[in-house]
Symmetry: C2
Subunit: 329 residues, 2 copies
């Protein structure tokens, strides 16, 4: 008899839900608005309600669903199953998300941060399917990270390891939103890629991006990649800056946990056709020659489903390893 797993991808705007087979096939899915302003109790109530609907609509007996997984924005405590106080979603800090959801669903729940969950999804069924040591960078507004070491996620001593966007790659470098200077994120995130182009325009650099900025009042990361593709020099320099920062981060990770593969995911990989070959090329230029260090740098394969697939997959993994907390804990 098949076993099923419930995956929850909690985001500030929408929360995606999916019921998956143990092979990772999504047999039912739904997206609900998170309406975080109504508070966390209302959200877990609505997730539980949607779960019951999905079961009913697909004539699935609830006893066949073994466990659930939740991917959530951090910082959070995996051990306590909750987002910690300093989070960006008012009202959700210190709310016992895992226990409250588990009580409503009647099954064990595993709770982890969204980048780790996406990393697990790619590791289980996506780009990292055949390997044991992987690193993932989520390239969006900010930069998140995930590390798989010998088939397990690296959480760190306080569940906030693998914050790869906040590796300092340039001492006294660009200020990051986190308060540090010179973070990878301060160079290579979508926001900072656009911002570096804007700053260059402000310094009087000539570029086809000037017209876009005049028209729209600002620039997006996509604008920069599109103009790089069309041959604009400043846009290409800006993309090189992003790729170079990521190449350096890849070298560093190779020397630290030594992954076989680095997977890039997030909104920016829509421009992966230009970004990926350049990250690879900077990695190869920067890595030592002491010994060969070939490393597969590639794009994620699961797209927007990585969250629910990873969450359900992490539930399956924790269930199989007998690591789930008791129902309601």
């Amino acid at each position: 008899m098949s076993e099923y797993f419930f995956g929850v991808d909690f985001g500030g705007t929408n929360t995606k839900l999916g019921i998956l087979t143990e092979q990772g096939e999504i047999i039912a899915r739904r997206s609900i608005p998170s309406e975080v302003e109504k508070g966390p109790i209302a959200l877990v109530d609505r997730i539980a309600e949607a779960y019951q609907d999905l079961l009913a609509e697909n004539r699935l007996e609830s006893r066949l669903v073994c466990a659930a997984g939740v991917g959530s924005p951090g910082p959070l405590s995996v051990a306590e199953g909750m987002i910690i106080k300093s989070c960006n979603i008012p009202g959700f800090g210190n709310f016992r998300f895992r226990a409250e959801l588990s009580r409503r669903l009647g099954i064990g729940v595993v709770f982890d941060n969204d980048a780790n969950v996406a990393c697990w999804g790619e590791f289980w069924l996506g780009a990292g399917k055949e390997i044991k040591h992987m690193v993932l960078f989520t390239l969006g507004t900010g930069i998140g990270g995930g590390i798989i070491y010998d088939g397990e996620l690296i959480h760190g001593s306080d569940d906030n390891g693998a914050e790869l966007g906040h590796m300092i790659i340039q001492p006294d470098g660009r200020r990051c939103n986190c308060g540090q200077h010179g973070c990878l994120e301060a160079y290579a995130s979508a926001n900072n890629t656009a911002l570096r182009a804007i700053e260059a325009l402000d310094q009087g650099r000539d570029s086809t991006l000037q017209a876009v900025r005049r028209k729209n009042g600002t620039l997006t990361c996509k604008d920069v990649f599109d103009h790089a593709r069309a041959g604009d020099e400043l846009a290409n320099e800006t993309v090189d800056g992003t790729a170079c920062a990521l190449g350096q981060a890849c070298v560093n990770m190779r020397h630290i946990t030594e992954p076989q593969q680095v997977v890039l995911t997030g909104g920016m990989i829509a421009s992966g056709d230009i970004l990926l070959p350049r990250v690879r090329s900077f990695y190869e230029k920067m890595i030592w020659t002491n010994k060969p260090e070939p490393m597969d740098i590639c794009l994620a394969k699961l797209g927007n489903d990585a969250g629910i697939i990873g969450a359900a997959g992490l539930a399956l993994h924790s269930y199989r390893q007998n690591r789930l907390s008791a129902v309601g804990c």
Copy 2:
């Protein structure tokens, strides 16, 4: 009945040997010249001979010694139990050190790189005794590293992870011996600390170090620390450069494997009285303020015995976990 473990700390000049109890007490020890020019077979023969002598002198029955551990310069393959071809010791590349030694001793042998072994020693009985997640930097001519994650060494996919000295902390920075640019080692090793002071003198900087250099023809790292202690401005700036690079590396490791503790070891910690407070201070200045990230940065406790203690301790750990290869493999 007590069980004993044999630790071997193989270095380019000398090889230190010790027989330890399972509690980590060194009950017999010896140092033999490595005489690497005579080749690896001669060395393992002499290690086995010294082992028999140590047993005899201490009236220890060989059947009470359960396993042996070897710490060796890298790069090496833990899986194959040998130094790989590109090593710095002619004749030792691709020699099956573990198998040959194991055959001679008649016990299982674990083989790992010297920084990992020192890291295991400090984790087992030194600075990291009470913790589960640790990082170690060996500060000598070069910079090595070790990572303990959840009570186990991180080896990486190809046994050459935790090469923390080759984390790039400054893009297009100082050239490193490894061929990369901007490595931690290129700023913070003993050699490079001295070299940065020499370069500043060459640029005409005034300093009490000038006289030392004139007298000795060069400067050592110890000179720089001694003159910093005495208040020389250039020496203090140079030490700050070393501490700042290490502080940045500590921030990065905190965001990657999130250790509870970073341990500094190697020859440079003879100047730990000046270095340690400055590394701590740079870490605190550089780390984000998103959430508190207190981390214990401290000096190693085992001194020159870390190698034999770590090697014997790793043998004990592998023996208890049933991870040792069969005798002679």
